[in-house]
Amino acid sequence: MPKFEQSYRVLQHSANADVRSLSAYRSKGGYSALEKALRELSPEQVNQQVIDAKLRGRGGAGRLTGEKWRITRQSEDDQKYVICNAYDADSRSLAARTLLEQNPHQVIEGILLAAYAVGASEAYLFTRSTSAAAHAAVQQAVQEAVEANLVGRDILSTDFSCTISVLGAEMGFMGGEETVQMALIKGRRGMPEQRPPFPAQYGLWICKTTAINSVETLVNVPYIVREGAAAFASVGSAMTGGTKLLTVYASPTSEPQVVEVPFGATLRDILDHAGLSTAANAAGAVVVGGAEGGALPLSALDTAYDFDPLEEAGVIVGSGIIELLPVDTCMVSWAMGQSAYLTKESCGKCVPCRLGVKRITGILEGIVSDLGVSGDLDVLDEFADYVPNGSLCGFGVQATNPLKTAKRYWPEHFTTHIQEQRCPTGTCVPVRAHRFVTKHVLP
């Protein structure tokens, strides 16, 4: 049984200590990193430490945070912004709201350090308005910090100033996309923008450069500044330093739990740590990455949880959800369900995502209803490439992961439905009466 508790960095054990109040957080050494940075380090040095620590974006893209900051800092704009993305795109992920509820001051300290490193004087914290407790906790913490001269003008009597605005919104899945958040801050409809240009080059308001980071990324920065890059990188894989918050579900309907694990741990160890070793052996599949993630068979449980090994297996870090599916799950039906959910959550801006995912869902519904033909599999393969290649933002790029992994690891579920017109696990019920047909429509 791995002892991941020892490497907990950002998640505090409730029994261990309550650091929600400013005094409790300061008594544990809170805000010492900020003080150290403001009084002893230049912004370049803070940035360099983050680069050295190999801190990668926890939002899923896995870019080096320090590099992103460097580009923002080197921009010639006089006004720069920091946005903390504390919005759980997948409503089943609890990572951001847990952090905000349990450790809000470390988030604020991380935002301030980021602002110091990139030279920003305004920061936004974007959260999901429906998680009321998290929202209240972070509002309370910001208020405390403002009163203690940790946020606002001339922080800690230095010439560094930074304000933090907390924004809550309910935008469904798309609210987690960084350009959607910038659009919402600007008061526009929440739809992503094409990248490049990246926010680091062309961001908030009138093209001001903006460093937008996940809350989980920023919350690690105080530790790096306080303890040094080497100490931070001592936990994690060679590729990715540090830990990751995961929301683990024993079954699609069970109560979730949040755990913090070092990068590079295997899926089996993670499930053991969450106390699900016996449940894992009885499961049918493990879904890694949440709504846009893929499903892996149990034989893949020894995959290391890190960006590249997961991508090779066909799944993603995504929203940091690990979920076990019951052994009698029909994977065609599962992929159909995921695809139907994503159809509803798409912002509707670009064609491949708005219509492509809908048509994939329709074809999968046909197969589940035993109306499929073998040609459908070729069409699905075509669209599994078309949607990621054509889509505008990461949502579309990842939207076919459920389909792709289901076809890759469980092809027999598809062929049983199509050739024998029955469900391999006997669980599917027909959902449509008409399959799509091709009609010749030329002059």
Partner: protein, 802 residues
């Protein structure tokens, strides 16, 4: 957390860039490579604008406009950029020094085509009505069907009469090429398009509407030779134009082949005469029993003061069988046989006779069914198969049901005679060989398969030809090698000035509707000739109008609605009876049938980018038909605004209207609403545009790449303008969002002479001021719009029924 993005473009620090070069006005520029060509670009340009500036115009895009911020929603302008893993939209990607871009590849083509297929799969609309295109006269079919569905029978008849003077007659006799093209077959069955206008005209046969108000007399005189469908049509439209027309015919009554070639059971002649009565009421004269070449010549007519002559003499000579014995008694001329029957003269067929009809066209079946009604035992012999027959399937099936013995793949080899009388015909069986020039497969005789069929009468009906003896060389008319009258192919003038020809005598024996179409075109050509227009220009114009447009179908979700069948006379009542076999629709039946029309008409057809790109990308099929209702959208149209008509069913969510209204004009009337698949561009809460801040500028219509936003017809001919009070402040120029007003060096404010043609606004001293700048107009058209063929008249937008 954030949505995960594992796309591989990381915001890496830009490598050391080659130095910027400044051009002659100091703008920093650099070079990049697009499609292997090195191009100069300026800082801040997108790849798309660099490509367009350098003559690469084939990057498709549906959501970009030069005056709008790019949004890259349509994903049509994707290009490959070296170093990027995914294709990127060129409309939004900044050009960078040293970039290597490819704008075309198989992968991009398929991506773009799939994009278009996706858009079409939820594009609940049509482009152009193929029925209207396939109809030789191009009747506004969706238009009159809509009117019939609303019960407006007389108005429907009027609309048809704009291009077809005899809707009742044609409603009974037309082979209906429109119905073969009907797109309703993709849903269930075609619509009874042809019988519909027959019904509409029947309701007002005694009080027929005129399509237009007749023009006052022009004093010009036109002689029409031949009173058949083509000649009468030309006379009709020429008379409407105010010209005096006189029709000369060799038969005792008007109608030509309509009267003498079509049996009574298909077309009651008394009803036809009622429809013709409108012609005589319009002042057209008719002279019967005079024949060209026998009683008068072309020179006689010109000498009588006619300004133009229309030759529509038809095809009245039956083709020879070209077998021995065809001169024998008992071998009957098909045309004369049908004509004699109509006139009530004795015919050589009587009850109990054995009759052989040779041929597979309309005339063959008219002879067959006439002989059947006379009580004969009829054998219809055709040398090819059913699909190659000239007659319609209904005609053939009816003939068989009425009792003819149809034999296919047989050729006559000789007529067997006894004492100069035909007693039988020897046939030989055929198999089909290679296709011939007409595209039909050539019959090849099978040796040794000869057989003999005994008979009393043989009626060869294997085609007709023009009687070339009526015009001698002195007439100045030349003949083609097919022995038809030679004319200009578009303006139909013969080699003799002022003499036009059309109908069967110009094109060879064809259908009635084609004759009518030629009569209509000839009337326009003759009118232009009489008005002194350049005939080359007329030819060019008519050619353009008749050019077949590019069609594109989409088959949206529509509920199945069975066809209302035409009530027919039962077969047992047809024996020895020449009663009309089509009993006609009741009004309710006609309305129900007309309401099945899908209204395949989009006013934007021909100017629609979605249509253009779909054709360019060869989209032959769409894989998403016939799904569940939830797979498609069926929105209500908003026709409440006076100038701007919205049909969200055609919207592709490009958001150009949203951006132009918000960013360029300002009122911000549109937005994107809904989420996921149900996202749609609309007004807030989908209210009428009247209830928004809309200023009716029409900029949204201008940018709309499809027909989703259309301008309603409006007539703004002239504003009242107090010239003496204008202080040339230029405010009007400033605020007009449409760029309709502008300043020019001589300070003419109006681009379109909206103040009237005589008003020129000048202020020379201002124009000569040293700091004067010609104001940049707003870019008007986003692209070079293709010239729309006016063949299909753009229809006013109508509400779309379910």
């Amino acid at each position: 957390m954030a949505i995960s993005i594992r796309d591989n473009f990381s915001p890496a620090a830009q490598a050391s860039q080659p130095p910027m070069v400044r051009n002659d006005v100091g703008h920093p520029s650099f070079t990049l490579t697009i499609d292997g060509k090195t191009m100069q670009a300026y800082q801040g340009q997108t790849i798309l604008s660099v490509a367009i500036d350098n003559g690469i115009s084939d990057i498709p895009n549906l959501c970009n406009d030069e005056k709008l911020e790019p949004t890259s929603a349509c994903r049509m302008c994707l290009v490959h950029i070296e170093g990027a893993e995914r294709p990127l939209p060129s409309c939004n990607t900044p050009a960078e020094p040293g970039m290597v871009v490819a704008t075309n590849s198989d992968e991009l083509f398929h991506l773009r085509r799939t994009n278009l297929e996706m858009m079409l799969s939820d594009h609940n609309a049509y482009c152009q009505p193929p029925c209207q295109v396939d109809c030789p006269t191009h009747i506004d079919i969706p238009g009159y069907l809509e009117l019939i569905a609303q019960g407006e029978m007389k108005e429907a008849a009027r609309l048809v009469k704009e291009v077809l003077p005899f809707p009742f007659t044609l409603g009974l006799t037309c082979p209906a090429p429109c119905q073969k093209a009907c797109r309703r077959t993709l849903v269930d069955e075609e619509i009874a398009i042809c019988r519909m206008h027959g019904h509409a005209a029947e309701t007002c046969l005694l009080d027929p509407p005129l399509p237009y108000v007749q023009d006052p007399p022009t004093g010009k005189k036109v002689a029409v030779i031949g009173g058949g469908p083509s000649g009468l049509t030309a006379a009709y439209y020429l008379a409407l134009r105010g010209h005096y027309c006189k029709v000369f015919d060799m038969q005792p009554q008007a109608g030509g082949m309509l009267r003498y070639g079509i049996p009574e059971y298909r077309l009651p002649k008394d009803m036809m005469d009622r429809e013709f009565q409108q012609l005589w009421d319009m002042g057209i004269d008719f002279q019967a029993n005079v024949k060209l070449g026998r009683d008068f010549t072309l020179d006689d007519l010109f000498a009588q003061g006619f300004d133009a002559i229309y030759l529509a003499i038809g095809c009245w000579t039956s083709n020879d069988l070209r077998v021995p014995g065809e001169d024998a008694e008992g071998v009957v001329n098909a045309i004369r046989y049908l004509g004699d029957k109509v006139e009530g003269k004795p015919v050589p067929v009587k009850s109990g006779d054995e009759v052989i009809v040779i041929g597979g066209g309309f005339t063959a079946f008219d002879c067959t069914r006439t002989s059947l009604r006379l009580g004969a035992d009829v054998h219809t012999m055709y040398r090819r198969g059913r699909t190659e027959m000239g007659a319609t399937t209904e005609e053939v099936e009816d003939g068989e049901a009425e009792g003819t013995h149809l034999q296919l793949y047989v050729s006559q080899t000789r007529v067997i005679t006894e004492d100069g009388r035909a007693t039988g015909v020897e046939f030989q069986r055929n198999k089909l060989g290679e296709p011939d020039a007409s595209g039909r497969r050539r019959p090849v005789p099978v040796p040794g398969s000869e057989f003999i069929l005994n008979c009393d009468t043989v009626i060869p009906a294997i085609g007709q030809a023009v009687d070339t003896r009526v015009l001698d060389d002195a007439s100045g008319i030349k003949w083609t090698k097919w022995k038809t009258i030679q004319t200009n192919p578009h303006n139909f003038m013969t080699d003799r000035e002022g003499v036009f020809a059309g109908g069967d005598c110009q094109m060879g024996a064809k259908t009635i509707i084609e004759g009518v179409a030629q009569g209509k075109l000839n009337a326009r050509s003759i009118h232009s000739y009489l008005m002194g227009e350049d005939m080359n220009e007329v030819s060019r114009r008519l050619e353009l109008e008749e050019r077949r447009p590019d069609l594109f179908d989409i088959v949206p979700y529509k509920p199945v609605e069975p066809k209302v069948k035409m009530p027919m006379l039962p077969y047992e009542k047809r024996e020895k009876s020449f009663a009309l076999i089509e009993m006609g629709y009741l009004k309710e039946q006609a309305q129900r049938e007309a309401a099945r029309c899908l209204q395949c008409a989009c006013p934007a057809a021909g100017q629609c980018d979605l249509q253009k790109y779909s054709i360019e990308h060869g989209l032959a099929d769409n894989r998403f038909h016939d799904g569940e209702p939830s797979d498609y959208h069926d929105y209500d149209t908003d026709l409440s605004h006076s100038f701007i008509l919205r049909d969200p069913n055609k919207c592709i969510n490009c958001t150009q209207c949203v951006r132009v209204c918000h960013d360029v004009i300002g009122p911000d009337c549109y937005g994107m609403f809904g989420k996921g698949f149900d996202t749609i561009v609309s007004t807030p809460f989908n209210v009428s545009l009247h209830d928004t801040d809309c200023v009716s500028c029409g900029a949204c219509v201008q940018v709309c790449p499809t027909g989703s936003l259309m301008m309603a017809e409006r007539s703004l001919s002239r504003y009242s303008f107090a010239l003496d009070r204008c202080i040339f402040c230029g405010d009007c120029v400033e605020v007009c969002p449409h760029g309709a007003l502008g300043e020019t060096p001589n300070f003419e404010l109006s681009f379109f002479n909206r103040f009237g043609e005589d008003v020129t606004l000048e202020k020379n001293d201002l124009a000569n001021a040293p700091n004067y700048l010609v104001r940049q107009r707003l870019p008007r058209g986003k692209k070079d719009l293709p010239v729309m063929s006016p063949l299909v008249r753009p229809l006013p937008a109508r509400s779309i029924r379910d």
